[in-house]
Symmetry: C2
Subunit: 284 residues, 2 copies
């Protein structure tokens, strides 16, 4: 009977922890909900933590003390990260994705809930020790990736706009150089209510070429006295080598284009290169 | 020993099913990964399904046959849906949210990963019997809500833009009347590659007043020979009563404003009104 009850409790605890990554839950909450002793809940969580650890599906962490509790962190093993990034790079290298003007068609990938969730789990894993208060992105295409990253971190999301909107209230507005080729000056704005001085931000976007937009977001954060803990993009171009924004980390690189097959050569960043041994392995 | 192994398997199966809603998994995949007989996996899934059912945390469904498998559907009970919608309506009614120009400040709510995920689970529950191929939204503010709805349904996301972009390839572009007050004509565009004739779309946005944008998206779908299975918004204004788009379903209604407290009166749609009995109940 206890066996059956444990199974039920595990299903419920898993559902709550796994769908609310990085949120701290008090063991008493679970105890009340499931009508079980705290000691039983503790044992359940220990079993869950061991299983997650064993199969590399994230970490269930217990924080001791009065303000403590338990939380799920969607950690990703190095091997799993390589598999995720490689499969997306392969998809982006399919023939037919090269558009007139030498653009890479990536909107389907950048807005896919499952792909962005997986890529976000790879990025989020880097910031588990230094969790930002919010993820900042610039409208429009990077929003899904940024939202999934925010969710994986248990952080908020702030969207910078090309212009301030009446329905966002008073705004902080800056000018920035939008690219390295042309010296065009653009503006970006964020709602003043959306951020507070002293917070920490992670900057996330789907694509970087010159790095102007990323640098604009970095300057915006300085303007608001917010610390930037990192700058992460899904895809960056190899050229120009020197970007306007320093310390940009990219999951993938756009190496070059092939007009004959209308395709782009997108490769994983070297951190996510798979060794031959794991290449054939299939995971759901 | 079998008891421990079952616990481990349950943790892994839960993690995979719960983080990939609506995706069909073959029992053999789980069997191979966990090195267990198909009959054991079947029993695991039965236990998981019973527990999810019992605690109202979504449904684990088994589809028989060769093309079958198991999937998780984040169903939400009527009571839970009422709790979610009521708590968000309450938050949006807080003093200080009324902006100059009689706008409601809702960007923090509309971009919160956890709030949008919960609201999306309420919307998605309506379409489990008629799952769309993709969710369509118009940039920018509704994207998080639309993405979470797409994820809950296991569907894709398509983002309509105010203008076509070179990096989205050739586009379908339409003109539409942007509101009922003013007869302003705006344009919206979607990438031709993003959709196919014969697909089904669910239109989702964060806010509706005149309904012009929703009607624009509806017409865009007709233009592309795509069936619209529903039109869902997070908040709609009571006025104008007659919207440009018919059959709009809203989670919440903006009843009116109070300039003295700078607040808006936002209430759940009548489908999500809580009865007094469940009002005091706390759920994580």
């Amino acid at each position: 009977m206890e066996h059956i009850r444990r199974t039920e409790r595990l299903a419920v605890i898993s559902q709550i922890l796994l769908t609310n990554p990085n949120r701290l839950y008090n063991l008493n909450e679970f105890g009340q909900m499931l009508n079980a002793a705290k000691s039983s809940i503790s044992e359940d969580i220990e079993l869950l933590a061991e299983a997650c650890e064993k199969y590399g599906v994230g970490a269930v962490e217990t924080i001791p003390g009065a303000a403590g509790g338990v939380r799920y962190r969607p950690r990703v093993s190095k091997e799993k990260a390589a598999q995720i990034v490689s499969s997306v790079a392969k998809k982006l290298s399919e023939p037919g994705r090269l558009l007139p003007g030498s653009f890479l068609y990536s909107s389907d990938v950048a807005s896919d809930p499952e792909i962005t969730r997986q890529l976000a789990s790879v990025v989020a894993a880097k910031y588990m020790g230094n969790v930002p208060d919010f993820v900042l992105t610039m409208e429009t295409k990077g929003i899904p990736f940024a939202l999934m990253t925010a969710q994986a971190l248990g952080a908020g999301l702030v969207i910078a706009r090309r212009d301030s909107k009446a329905y966002e209230g008073s705004a902080v507005k800056i000018n920035y150089i939008s690219g390295s080729d042309n010296e065009r000056v653009d503006t970006m704005a964020i709602s003043r209510r959306a951020v507070k001085a002293g917070q920490k931000a992670l900057i996330v976007d789907d694509f970087a070429k010159g790095g102007g937009t990323l640098q604009g977001m970095t300057e915006m954060m300085h303007e608001c006295q917010i610390e930037v803990v990192g700058v992460e993009v899904m895809i960056a171009t190899r050229q120009p080598k020197v970007k306007l924004c320093k310390d940009v980390s990219s999951l993938m690189w756009l190496n070059g284009i092939d007009r004959l097959t209308a395709s782009c050569d997108v490769v994983p960043d070297e951190r996510y290169l798979m060794d031959a041994a794991s290449e054939g392995k299939v995971e759901p």
